[in-house]
Symmetry: C2
Subunit: 367 residues, 2 copies
Amino acid sequence: MVADYLHTYAVIMAGGGGTRLWPVSRKEKPKQLLPLLGQETLFQSTVKRLENLFPPERILVVTVEEQAQEMKLQAPEIPEENYLIEPAPRGTASVVGMAAMVLQKRDPKSLMAILPSDHFIRNVDLFHYLLKAAFEVAESGYLVTLGITPTSPSTAYGYIQQGKVLEGEYKYPAYTVKSFKEKPDEQTAQQLLRSGDHSWNSGMFIWRVDAIMTEIDRQMPHLSAELKAISEAWGTSKQDDVLNKRWLNLKNETVDYGVMEKAERVAVLPAGGLGWSDVGMWSSLFEVLLPDMDGNIATNSSLHLAHETHNTMIYGGSTDRLIVTIGVDDMVIVDTGDALLVCKSDQSQKVKEVVEHLKKHRQEKYL
Amino acid sequence: MVADYLHTYAVIMAGGGGTRLWPVSRKEKPKQLLPLLGQETLFQSTVKRLENLFPPERILVVTVEEQAQEMKLQAPEIPEENYLIEPAPRGTASVVGMAAMVLQKRDPKSLMAILPSDHFIRNVDLFHYLLKAAFEVAESGYLVTLGITPTSPSTAYGYIQQGKVLEGEYKYPAYTVKSFKEKPDEQTAQQLLRSGDHSWNSGMFIWRVDAIMTEIDRQMPHLSAELKAISEAWGTSKQDDVLNKRWLNLKNETVDYGVMEKAERVAVLPAGGLGWSDVGMWSSLFEVLLPDMDGNIATNSSLHLAHETHNTMIYGGSTDRLIVTIGVDDMVIVDTGDALLVCKSDQSQKVKEVVEHLKKHRQEKYL
């Protein structure tokens, strides 16, 4: 039992700068800061999704300097001191470590939910229910991860294989974790989908702060040592200096690889029906937005005249710009002021390669 | 023998307003007035193609009031009085009749070549050679048509079936015409392509003015009577009044149907190797512009980054706008300021239907 949820915190990881939603996401406007799915930005939706579960003073945001100001504008209800700034990107293990270190100082009994800032979840009530269930399991000392029940043989996610059901009086069944698996190839993905005991790794983790700290101490002594140094200076006049100096010593490491894979007590809650998407590439918007009878989606004020067109998404444009498609199937068309993308849906993960190409050829103005 | 080509005239038919190259061609900017294939407009290329064959004073342009001014700007070398204005569109038979009437008054011995204003011809030398050959046959009294040797089973053109070779000392073989055929269905088009004795009807005709007038008198007495009335007023103060009044009495009729199909002495010159295209729809630009190794064409200053893209044409855009395609095959992408077209190449004839739809729904600003 989590006593009245007085010690539960949400930590939003918001420092990323993905390239797979180019040309809408740009260097200065990463995905989470964009109103990709309507009026709100993904970051705002993430914050809003926590309403009635966490008061704003128990929501932390870990981000980088360049994004912090915009985030404070977008979510002014979160107290200034709850924005934690990474001096430089050092991977999710470091982010988790910083948040855990800060929470441990504020509230040694705290439990935290680590949540990405740029995901979509349709069914917020179910999300709340599952988070509460996960906190309950975490209270027993487990490092808990929300596994998403796969709906397709996706090669874009890592997979988690569940083991035995946890014993105990939990409101929702949790399982031990047999293994974490890297992004599979297509054939393997088909097998994992059929197996019935694999979930997608959503990047959402729930644990007691002391439990994750114990694992960091055990498995990542280097990170642990730097965090201790930062912790000592925290709240003093030396805080920023020490943070900046120590942080740069850290290795870039994910929490999955650095902690979860070899942690002692790991649990997974298989979550189906959340209506979850990581909005990881253009084609994932087909999972999120509702298509018309022909499978087409015209969004973000775009004016679309579809002639013999199916399963095609028009994104961007403007109410003044007419986009006509004729004989087009399974396509994503993204129209912005200085760049137009026309991409076969099942190849939208390759947008990343195009952005790499633009970087390599120093086409800065399109990045 | 055409004595030194002193009585040969070119008549450019330039009043049309096609819709199949939307969104580039618009109501106020029909296809022939656009620089579709480079710096020059199709109309300018048509005029330029006549250099060294016709002096400007023997080039006539038949067009409508709305387009005349722009044409005079684009081809100032053609004398003002050589622009003939149709008071309203009444089909190619009426255009031919007006031009023949005017030429007959100027030069009773004249021969004329009727030429569309919006076609592309790669090999101008061969075009000159064939026109001269056609004038030679026309001098004998034949109504001559240039037939284009088919290079595909096109359903976009009418076909001309040739009969026996004409006897006589011609520099290039000409044939009698067995039949004119309407645009065929796909299966028939395959047969016509294989037959070896069918050409595409290019809409280019060559004849003596007295020969075409005789056929108009015989087959189109109504047109003939109106032309006579206009002819009597021509050059007098009543010219415009009579033209405007009489012209509106005319029926809309093509020269093919109204004259050629039942004319007595018709000949066809089968023309291969001209590099001809009527530039009738977006996909026909693949015949005209030179693709890269992947079959892609980026034209009109567009900046195209092609990733796993084949046989795709990018038209429009600007040097500042980047167009990225990923996994795209056989597509036409036309990017203009207020409209974007993405169209499977083999369906680009359907652009016409889209424009009809826009008309019907009174989307005037996109027409």
